[in-house]
């Protein structure tokens, strides 16, 4: 895969990230996200750039980059598909979805599918751990956006639509951007998609809907501010 060199703009943004923190090294995780956005993976050049800005050794940066699973030494597709195979999702069908996608894409874990003639975009596949969406099991992530309540068939449809270059939306979020664009958001540069998607998915609202139907709410607050009792200085 050809990688364009890190631009002056990216270098300036890397410095900008470091400057958000009282100690610049705190910026390293988001800086590595930006390297991935700019270069499609963690490159030796990206590691050197972070090391130079933070005045630490490349070995230290490399040690951090290899510790965290979201950092990729090898490139991923335009759309990186993660299938949750932690216990709850696995049992609910995540294992079957992952098997089906491996077979359909003819790849193993953590690989990029071949770009067929006519495909305008690439996809890669990985099995992932619990993504905090168990009430929507089985869960798939595309570029770290939720694709809730999947089946093997729906998962195949999603990857085919993505390869064909169609617009696909998260079931609980925005229109999907590319992996590199998503990595830029993780580096702390918003992309303007925040107002897309719902407030909450259907499962998130399960309890609230029941409360509404039955007229339940939290206890009424007292009419006078009840904290006044605690405003006496609070030395206790």
């Amino acid at each position: 895969m050809s990688t364009e060199p890190i631009s002056a703009k990216t270098l300036a943004e890397l410095r900008e990230i470091a400057a958000r923190y009282p100690e610049p090294r705190s910026g390293l995780l988001p800086m590595l996200h930006l390297v991935q956005s700019a270069q499609g993976r963690i490159t030796p050049e990206g590691i050197e750039a972070c090391a130079a800005i933070l005045e630490i050794s490349a070995a230290e940066v490399s040690g951090v980059a290899t510790f965290y699973t979201m950092y990729k030494r090898h490139g991923v597709g335009d759309y990186h598909v993660g299938v949750c195979t932690n216990t709850l999702c696995a049992v609910m069908g995540g294992d079957a979805i992952f098997e089906r996608l491996k077979e359909h894409l003819e790849i193993g874990n953590d690989e990029v599918a071949v770009q067929r003639q006519g495909d305008s975009r690439t996809v890669s596949l990985e099995h992932i751990e619990c993504n905090a969406a168990c009430d929507f099991a089985p869960v798939m992530m595309v570029n770290w956006e939720f694709m809730d309540n999947q089946t093997p068939d729906s998962a195949v449809q999603v990857v085919e639509a993505l390869r064909a270059g169609h617009e696909v939306s998260s079931t609980r979020g925005p229109r999907l951007c590319t992996w590199r664009e998503a990595e830029r958001v993780l580096a702390g540069f918003p992309d303007g998609r925040v107002d897309e998607g719902p407030s909450a998915g259907p499962a998130s609202l399960a309890g609230l809907e029941i409360a509404r139907e039955r007229g339940w709410s939290a206890p009424e607050p007292p009419s006078a501010p009840a904290v006044s009792a605690a405003t006496d200085g609070g030395e206790r």
């Binding site: 979201m70 009430d135 399960a206």
Partner: protein, 435 residues
Amino acid sequence: MTELTPVLTDIWDAEQSWKLATYAARGGYSALDTAFAMSPDAVIAAVKDSGLRGRGGAGFPTGMKWSFIPQDNPKPKYLVVNADESEPGTCKDIPLMMGNPHVLVEGVILSSYAIRANKAFIYIRGEVVHVIRRVQAAVAEAYAAGHLGQDIHGSGYDLDIVVHAGAGAYICGEETALLEGLEGRRGQPRLRPPFPAVAGLYASPTVINNVESIASVPAIVKNGAAWFGSMGTEKSKGHGIFSLSGHVERPGQYEAPLGITLRELLDLAGGVRAGHQLKFWTPGGSSTPLLTAEHLDVPLDFEGVGAAGSMLGTRALQIFDETVCVVRAVLRWTEFYKHESCGKCTPCREGTWWLVQALTRLENGQGTEADLDQLLDQCDNILGRSFCALGDGATSPVSSSIQHFRDEYLAHLSHGGCPFDPAKSTAWAGQEVSA
């Protein structure tokens, strides 16, 4: 019948609930002036009086944690919000930040004021881009409205918030590993003491709290400690989000007083999926020992679940019916712990590897009954000997499943493999036939 008590979830069904305008129209950010009229110590006292205990798993009293910050220490104080939510089964903080990010931001301001921090960090796991967008935007909106920055509301109090994305590591939910991540290092836990309250981020006094803990603060400041304490049980006060997942008719988020039972929650959720029975469940994520149908009436508060031999944890109620092989479930969780072990200490690094080997053999029907006792021995070598609670948690599913389902392990041996059909457990099981 315990009634649901939506507080943090109450806004989730509103149009654009994540916007400041929506939040403010419901009284959002009004707790700031209430707090600024109080001394920081009085805010700490109010949170202490409320009985709020940490919602990230361990249940440590929040106000007490804040009072440990040495105010005579000249170094800056920091608040760090733990939004790493990665404990298997736990899925409450993510929808909370997606649907109601401003309650978290308001809570950060109040909590930072109380501990006298002028800089706060929200450490969000990286694998949830849209949630990160929502929190980033909420912080930006709060700055623009004058709720953050210099001299907030003319109070003389300054606060900056940095939203920080993690990069994939369950261990970074452990608070000292999180600090390592936030300092740009590998996420490996630190030796305690010193505790973060004394020497945390940049060796400065630091409070680390869960998202839901911090988000509970605005209503406590606004409505009072007594209001909060009117919900819940004697030692486990207030509201909490209960997350039902798996083989239940209506999985999802149910905000209720602590002390509600699984029987009550299942009743609201339409029961275990039709035609099936409850087999086992986790009360608070995979690191909390499994419970069974015997425990349906255990009050889901810190004391009740503790007395039943498990832990309330994060109220992550993963429900498994009789189609699920407990050995398969436990093996998968154990593979997770092995993968996520940070490698710093031997009992966990080596022990989780051995657990996976032994469980794999049993799942394949190989071995003898003596291997079960060896598994329990291995758990003994990890539990209490590991450097952090990840290792301890890894033993919970193993030992509790052997305690409750020893016969099922043995059935794998006599059957020469797993006697269960995984197809029967899927969300779509049975639908192909009827369609």
